[in-house]
Symmetry: C2
Subunit: 291 residues, 2 copies
C-alpha cells in the first residue's frame, strides 16, 4: 500500500520504519524536517508538507502531539485534506480529544475522505518493536482497510467502536493507570515509613488481588525515589486533560482521576514533568515528610 506518515516523533519515526519493513511504500513529513532523515535512510520518501505527503496515498497516518497539532496537519495550511484523494483513509494515531476527532472527520468527509482514530499504548519501546496496543474507532470497513498497516506497528489491534471510541478507550487506559499509580504510591510510602523491606512486601502482595502492571514494574521506582522513563508525567497529564474533558462532556464523576490530575499540576510546577509517571510517588512522599 502507499502510506503517508505525518509526525516523526519518538513514536512516529519507529512506527513508520515498521510500516516500511511490512513492505509498504511510505512518504513521511515532519514540521522539523531533519527528523525525517533517519526514516528516509530506512527507505521512506520525504514530502515538503502534509498536503504533499498525502498526494497519491491510500492511507494517511498522523501521529503528532495534541489536538491542535492534528487539526493543523489535517485541516490547516498545506494540510492533509488538500492532498488526499477522494476515497483515501486518514488514520489518526495521536492521543487527542474524541470530540475534536469527530469534528475533523466531518470536515474530511465533506471531501469524501474517510477517517478512523487509532491511538496507541506501549510507549517508545512498543513503537520500536512493533508491539503497540492499538485501539481503533471508526467504521468496520475502514478499520479493516487499515489493518495491514496497523498490523505492521502493533501486536494487539482492537476495534472498540465508532469514530472517537479509540480515543475514549485511550482515555480509559490513562484513567485506570492514574488511580493505580496513586494507590501503589500510597501503599509504598506507608510501608517505607513503617520501616518494612519493600521488596518483600511487593513480592508478598503482587500475586493476589492487589497485583497490577504498575505494582510489578513501577513500585520499585517509588521505593528508590528514582523515576527513569518510562512514560512522562507531562504526557500523561496532557491525556488526563483529554479524559477530564470527556468526563465533563459525558457527565461522569471521576474523583481519583481528578486527584491525580491535580497532583500532576504540582509535579510539573516543581520540575518533575519529564520524569516517569511513577514520580506521582514524590507527591505522597513529600506530603508525608519522607525525604
Amino acid at each position: 500500500m502507499k502510506v503517508a506518515f505525518i509526525g516523526m516523533g519518538t513514536m512516529g519515526a519507529p512506527m513508520a520504519v515498521n510500516i516500511l519493513k511490512g513492505g509498504h511504500q511510505v512518504t513521511v513529513h515532519n514540521r522539523t524536517r531533519e527528523k525525517e532523515k533517519p526514516v528516509a535512510d530506512a527507505g521512506a520518501l520525504r514530502a515538503e508538507s502534509p498536503q504533499e505527503a498525502a498526494v497519491g496515498a491510500d492511507i494517511i497516518i498522523t501521529c503528532v502531539s495534541d489536538t491542535p497539532d492534528v487539526e493543523a496537519v489535517i485541516l490547516g495550511d498545506n494540510g492533509v485534506i488538500y492532498g488526499s484523494a477522494p476515497g483515501s483513509l486518514v488514520v489518526d494515531m495521536s492521543t487527542i480529544s474524541p470530540t475534536a476527532t469527530r469534528n475533523i472527520a466531518v470536515s474530511l468527509l465533506q471531501n469524501d475522505i474517510k477517517m478512523i482514530d487509532a491511538p496507541v499504548s506501549g510507549g517508545s519501546e512498543g513503537a520500536r518493536n512493533g508491539t503497540l496496543a492499538i485501539m481503533a474507532g471508526g467504521e468496520a470497513a475502514d478499520v479493516q482497510r487499515a489493518m495491514p498497516v496497523l498490523e505492521a506497528m502493533g501486536k494487539t489491534i482492537t476495534h472498540v467502536g465508532p469514530l472517537g471510541a479509540g480515543q475514549i478507550t485511550k482515555a480509559i487506559n490513562q484513567i485506570v493507570i492514574a488511580g493505580t499509580y496513586l494507590s501503589v504510591a500510597e501503599g509504598m510510602v506507608l510501608g517505607m515509613k513503617a520501616g518494612l523491606d519493600m521488596q518483600k512486601v511487593i513480592q508478598a502482595i503482587a500475586g493476589g488481588a492487589a497485583g497490577s502492571w504498575v505494582l510489578s514494574n513501577r513500585a520499585v521506582n517509588m521505593v528508590s525515589n528514582a523515576y527513569p522513563l518510562g512514560f512522562r508525567v507531562r504526557l500523561h497529564h496532557k491525556d488526563m486533560g483529554i479524559a477530564l474533558e470527556a468526563a465533563k462532556e459525558l457527565g461522569v464523576t471521576m474523583p481519583a482521576a481528578s486527584l491525580v490530575d491535580q497532583l500532576e499540576n504540582g509535579l510539573i510546577a516543581r520540575g518533575y514533568g519529564d520524569e516517569d509517571l511513577s514520580a506521582i510517588a514524590r507527591s505522597i512522599r513529600e506530603l508525608s515528610g519522607l525525604t
Copy 2:
C-alpha cells in the same frame, strides 16, 4: 505439631481443615460452638474456651474478625494467655491494627509466650484450597517455627519484617486494592456513558500498563452492575479503618485510600455492605447518573 485454632469463620474453618490434612493434631474453638462441628467431623478436637484449646498446644492460631475480638480471645476471660505454656507460639491470622498487635505481644511475652502476626489474602477460595498469601511479621525463628503449619494453609508465605509488619503489609494490600478498584470503576463508567463495547475495551487495555487483577477479574461486574462475592465491601472497609489509623500514626497522606473509605461509608449506608468490593462502581455510576 499440636495446634490450637480459635475462630471457625468463613476463613478459619477451612484453614483448620487444611492443617489437619497436613498431619497435625488440631483443637478448635469458636464463640458460637456449633461452627466447630464440621471441623470436628474432619478430625479436630473441640475445646470449651480459647484457654482450654491452648492447653498443651505448640502453636495457637487466632483467626477472628477485628482487633477487639483478638484482644478478647487472647487476653480476655478464659483467653489463650491463661492456657498457653511458656515457650508456646501465638500466630494471629486476623486482620487487625499493627499497634494493637504489638501491645498484645507485650502482654504475652510477660508470660513467656511468643507471637507473630500472619494475616492472609486470597479469600475463602484460597482458604479452602490452601493457596492463601500469608504475610508474616515477627522474629525469624518464630516465623520459621510456624512454617510447617503456615505451609498447610498458604501458597506464598513471606516474612516481611518484625512484629506488626504482616498487618502493615495487609494494610498496604488493601490500600493498593482500593485505588485500583476506584480507577477501574471510573474508566468503566466513562466508557459505558460513551456507549462503548466494554468487553472489547477491557480486552484492548488489560495487556498493557493499565493491567491489573481488578481489571481482569472485576471490571465485568462493574459493567453488568452485579456484584457477587468475592470480598465484602464491609470487610474491606474495616481494613481501610486499620490502614487509615496506621497512616495517622505513621504520618502518611493517603488521599485515594481516604476517598475510597468515604465512598464505602455511603455504600454500606445504602445497603451494599455485603456485596463484592467491585460495588464501588455503584458510587461512580450513581454520581454519574448511570442507572
